[in-house]
């Protein structure tokens, strides 16, 4: 009786329906939907929030005044990424502004480079403590001589600003592209290169 039922059209239909359903579930499980690939770079103050970047909340700083920041990089590229933080100092010159549409980095003077592999959906926080070690005055321009960045002293050759106004720290995010075998400013997603950067202006008084 049972064998006869197993050969019936009703059982065949039931089996086909369940076979379709289980196949569908297995396929969805094996091919999860692709999430959007992106990364982000943020500059944070000493309390790891986007506030109080400078002592006394004033971007007019003095030589020797210590600035404490954190740079936060978030990876949502769906894979572990080798990120490269290229931190530069510049003035208001246009060439010091990175050009995201053409993926052109800033022409500013590099003061710190840092590399780290960041797992997907993970965050990398880099402490950045810096101060201007010395500066010279040339006519009406203030020229930065050297910067102390974390534990090293970095020369800032030729970075000057009229009356010391509008210097800036520029933070560029780069990543290593395993298909192109080179570092990109900043990453490739869906065949398009996106450039991420951040900056903070200050005056040297």
């Amino acid at each position: 009786m049972m064998l006869k039922y197993l050969r019936s059209k009703e059982f065949a239909t039931l089996y086909l329906v369940f076979l379709s359903l289980t196949t569908l579930v297995a396929w969805v499980n094996a091919n999860p939907p692709k999430a959007e690939q992106f990364a982000s770079v943020s500059l944070l103050g000493p309390s790891k929030t986007a506030t109080q970047y400078f002592p006394n909340n004033s971007s007019q700083i003095k030589t020797g005044e210590v600035i404490n920041w954190y740079i936060q990089v978030y990876n949502h590229m769906e894979s572990a990424e080798l990120f490269f933080l290229n931190i530069k100092i510049g003035n208001q010159s246009l060439t010091d502004t990175p050009n995201a549409p053409t993926n052109t980095p800033s022409a500013g003077f590099t003061i710190l480079q840092s590399y780290q592999v960041v797992l997907n959906n993970d965050t990398w926080i880099v402490p950045l403590q810096w101060w201007v070690v010395n500066n010279t005055i040339n006519g009406n321009s203030v020229v930065i001589g050297a910067l102390q960045v974390n534990t090293s002293t970095a020369p800032a050759i030729g970075i000057s600003a009229v009356f010391g106004k509008n210097f800036r720290i520029i933070i560029e995010l780069w990543s290593y592209d395993v298909q192109l075998h080179e570092f990109l400013f900043s990453f490739r997603s869906g065949g398009v290169v996106y450039s991420l950067w951040n900056q903070q202006w200050f005056d040297l008084t």
Binding site: E10, L19, V117
Partner: protein, 111 residues
């Protein structure tokens, strides 16, 4: 300039092996941690080569596991469908039998 120097060629090769292992489904958390330690210490080429070998082994293991998983899925899909069809069929037959018995009881109780 302060900070780290650019990663060496063996370091980049090790990274590519890590990425391949991750893409194959391997757990790369501990290898990434080791990689970052080597980057901080400007590790030797030999250390990165060793890590690259570890990543290749992890990739091979992950590929083998994935192949096994695919076979298991291919076998279990028709079996699960068959079990579900049998359970549903049994339930339908039981319902029909109960319905038949109910009708017969009603026929017997008729004056």
């Amino acid at each position: 300039m302060a900070g780290q120097v650019s990663p060496s060629r063996p370091a980049l090769d090790a990274l590519e092996a890590l990425r391949a292992a991750e893409a194959a489904g391997a757990n790369v958390v501990s290898m990434v941690s080791k990689y970052n330690s080597l980057l901080q210490q400007t590790g030797s080429d030999a250390s990165f080569n060793s890590l690259q070998n570890d990543a290749l082994t992890a990739q091979q293991n992950a590929v083998a596991t994935q192949a096994n998983d695919k076979i298991t899925t291919a076998i279990s899909v028709p079996i699960i469908a068959l079990l579900l069809a049998l359970v549903t069929a049994s339930f339908l037959q039981l319902r029909r039998r109960l319905e038949r018995e109910r009708l017969m009881d009603m026929e017997i109780q008729k004056p």
